[in-house]
């Protein structure tokens, strides 16, 4: 009853040049300029500058409390910064509410799952298609004509995503009853259903085992390569970050301390200091001479800074 058995790549936005060309130096899709955000006396973000370039996978890393999620919340309009501005595709949208940000083409997932628990997988994914449904209330009340047609059209798109993520068997199950890893996958699906230009993922692999992490990494890479979606993700697993990301931004105490390709971040002295807690007075301990990936590797590939 669903579409073809083999997952078919969803077509990306029309007229999109191939991603490879963008990779080297795509134009910025989102610019965060000089953003400061504080809650009372606590400074969550301190004059952060950031650029997300079209077609790339950007990782935002940093120790706990560094302001990563706050940054994502500012980008998606949940919080409004006290200072600075945000440009999306060159236009200022610092004061946009979350729904307006979503309709511009930014989708996101949450650190602790943001699914609609009592709704089925299908219904959750269909909420992602909301902005494509343009029928009025009275037609929907009769579920007739254009309203039914719109539902069917969007259902077809959703089924493609269900294929893409391999979750056919659970499409009519309420998401609240699914195991955690599956819920994470459904949440990714819901964000993809919105056909975003920019996808923000807040710890998409938190609490997953190796196999599940590999699956999600694959989906992220596919979404990026086949659907042409620009991705910014927060992740603690350095192995994953180094493997799949084109560029890494490091935050510490609300400030950006490094920005560059994985190879550069790996040996960046400030980053090593932020993660290992050495000060300028002390030389790094002998065990810290390797790069941060090594540290992660020794901890069994797990998060390196969880205390």
């Amino acid at each position: 009853m669903s579409g073809p058995v083999t997952p078919e790549p969803l077509p990306g936005p029309a007229g999109e040049p191939p991603r490879i060309a963008l990779k080297a130096g795509g134009r910025p899709i989102l610019q965060v300029e000089d953003i400061s955000l504080s809650f009372g006396g606590l400074k969550a973000l301190d004059r952060v500058n950031l650029e997300i370039r079209e077609g790339e996978i950007l990782a935002i890393i940093g120790p706990n409390g560094a302001g990563k999620t706050s940054l994502l919340n500012v980008i998606s309009g949940v919080y409004h910064p006290q200072q600075g501005r945000i440009l999306f595709e060159g236009q200022d949208r610092t004061r946009f509410r979350p729904h307006a940000v979503a309709n511009q083409g930014v989708a996101r997932t949450f650190q602790n799952l943001g699914l609609f628990r009592a709704m089925t997988v299908l219904e959750n994914l269909m909420t992602g298609r909301k902005k494509f449904i343009r029928t009025n209330f009275f037609l929907q009340a009769m579920f007739w004509g254009p309203a039914q047609k719109a539902e069917i059209e969007q259902r077809e798109r959703v089924e493609q995503i269900i294929d893409f993520l391999g979750i056919e068997h659970i499409r009519k199950v309420p998401v609240g009853t699914l195991p955690y890893g599956m819920q994470k996958r459904v949440e990714l699906g819901r964000a993809l259903a919105a056909e975003p230009k920019l996808l923000l993922l807040d710890e998409p692999m938190a609490g997953m085992n190796l196999e599940e992490k590999e699956d999600i990494s694959r989906f992220i890479l596919d979404a990026n390569e086949e659907l042409g979606i620009t991705i910014a993700l927060i992740e603690h697993d350095m192995g994953v970050v180094m493997d799949i990301c084109d560029r890494i931004v490091v935050l510490d105490y609300g400030s950006k301390i490094a920005d560059g390709p994985p190879a550069e971040i790996r040996n960046h002295p400030d980053v090593i200091r932020a993660y290992l807690g050495t000060t300028d007075d002390q030389p790094p301990p002998a065990s810290a001479t390797g790069d941060i990936t090594d540290r992660a590797g020794r901890a069994g590939g797990g998060p390196i800074e969880e205390t």
């Binding site: 943001g114 699914l115 209330f137 009340a141 259902r155 919105a194």
Partner: protein, 353 residues
């Protein structure tokens, strides 16, 4: 053995999205309609039609309205009966002053109630949960007070006492209890299907998304405020139509006290016992609250339990209260979920797996 879905494959999305995807469910629904429209008029006596079935249908309709607001959109309301009052008095005034046709009256009553509902839904922008529930109490008290204080609404009589004029729909003189039952039934069936449709399309999904997690709903591009207000309006529309039916088809003559706070609580009890967020649950809950006390008192008579009359009257209430608690313990998600579970079991019955 009978309730099998094997061999029924949805070959298109349209078929998969039907209101009743299973053949057996469609048959059951058709049979239920035939029963309600044909069999009941043949077998039911006047007492059943006038005092029980019509009341049950009207409460079901009002409960659907409250379920849209509370069950679908997650906004708790304690003032639902007041919107029924708005509908009742609006339809009365349209009928007496403007002499508009009966069905138009009912529709207008719904729209007036929706407008008032919109007004009292405004606080939902800022407050939610229990705090909003208390704010909706304001609707209950304000509307009751306005209707009692300004006797213009009741055509000049004291305490808002009104007598509904006779109804005539295109030559059909709706005067007997059977006529009123059939009119009520028709309105309820149409509006229940509309509610079902809203629930499964984009509006209903957005409401449920707001109910489950409003932050995520907003991130998905759903504007909270318009959708909450829409839920208040649709909910009040249903209450308004139910109130008009209550006045015209059930009571005939009434005062504002017919829509007191206790009725709001009753409605809330119905949707909680019946099942939040389901249309079926609204009917089951209304049936539970309306029919069960009657069944209990009948059972007491039938079993020849003797005792002081005041003891018997209280025993009825005690059994009723006990049953409510029992059902909530057995199935906190309501009778509709219980029905769902039974259907799941029926798929395999009589085999263990």
């Amino acid at each position: 053995m009978i309730y099998r879905e094997s061999g029924q494959f949805a070959s298109s999305y349209a078929k998969d999205m039907r209101m009743f995807p299973l053949l057996q469910d469609r048959w059951a629904f058709g049979a239920l309609l035939v029963f309600a429209f044909v069999v009941i008029p043949l077998i039911a006596n006047d007492y059943w039609l006038s005092s029980i079935l019509t009341l049950f249908l009207i409460y079901s309709l009002s409960a659907i309205g409250l379920n849209i607001l509370t069950g679908f959109c997650g906004q708790l309301s304690l003032g639902h009966a007041a919107f029924m009052a708005v509908g009742a008095y609006a339809s009365y005034n349209f009928a007496v002053r403007l002499h508009t046709p009966v069905l138009v009256n009912f529709l207008l009553a719904g729209f007036v109630a929706a407008a008032v509902g919109l007004l009292f839904g405004l606080p939902s922008l800022r407050i939610k949960g229990f705090y909003l529930a208390v704010a909706t109490l304001a609707a209950q008290f304000t509307i009751e007070w306005v209707l009692v204080s300004f006797n213009w609404f009741a055509g000049g009589s004291m305490l808002g006492a009104i007598d509904t004029p006779p109804m005539n729909i295109m030559g059909w003189d709706v005067s007997s209890n059977l006529d009123k039952y059939l009119l009520t039934l028709s309105v309820v069936v149409v509006l229940a299907i509309v509610a079902k449709n809203l629930g499964r399309s984009e509006v209903g999904r957005s409401w449920r998304a707001i109910r489950d997690l409003d932050v995520a709903a907003e991130i998905m591009g759903i504007r909270l405020f318009p959708y909450k207000l829409l839920a208040f309006m649709v909910s009040s529309f249903y209450a308004g139509v139910a109130g008009a039916l209550y006045a015209f088809c059930y009571l005939g003559s009434l005062e504002v006290t017919a829509f007191e706070l206790a009725v709001s609580f009753r409605l809330l009890g119905m949707i909680i016992i019946g099942g939040l967020g389901t249309i079926l649950g609204s009917f089951l809950g209304a049936g539970f609250i309306v029919l069960l006390p009657i069944l209990i008192s009948q059972a007491i008579v039938f079993l020849h339990i003797s005792g002081a009359s005041d003891f018997l009257a209280n025993a009825e209430l005690m059994i009723f209260g006990g049953l409510i608690i029992l059902f909530l313990i057995v199935e906190p998600y309501g009778l509709a979920r219980l029905w769902q579970t039974i259907k799941e079991k029926l798929r395999l019955w009589p085999f263990p797996y």
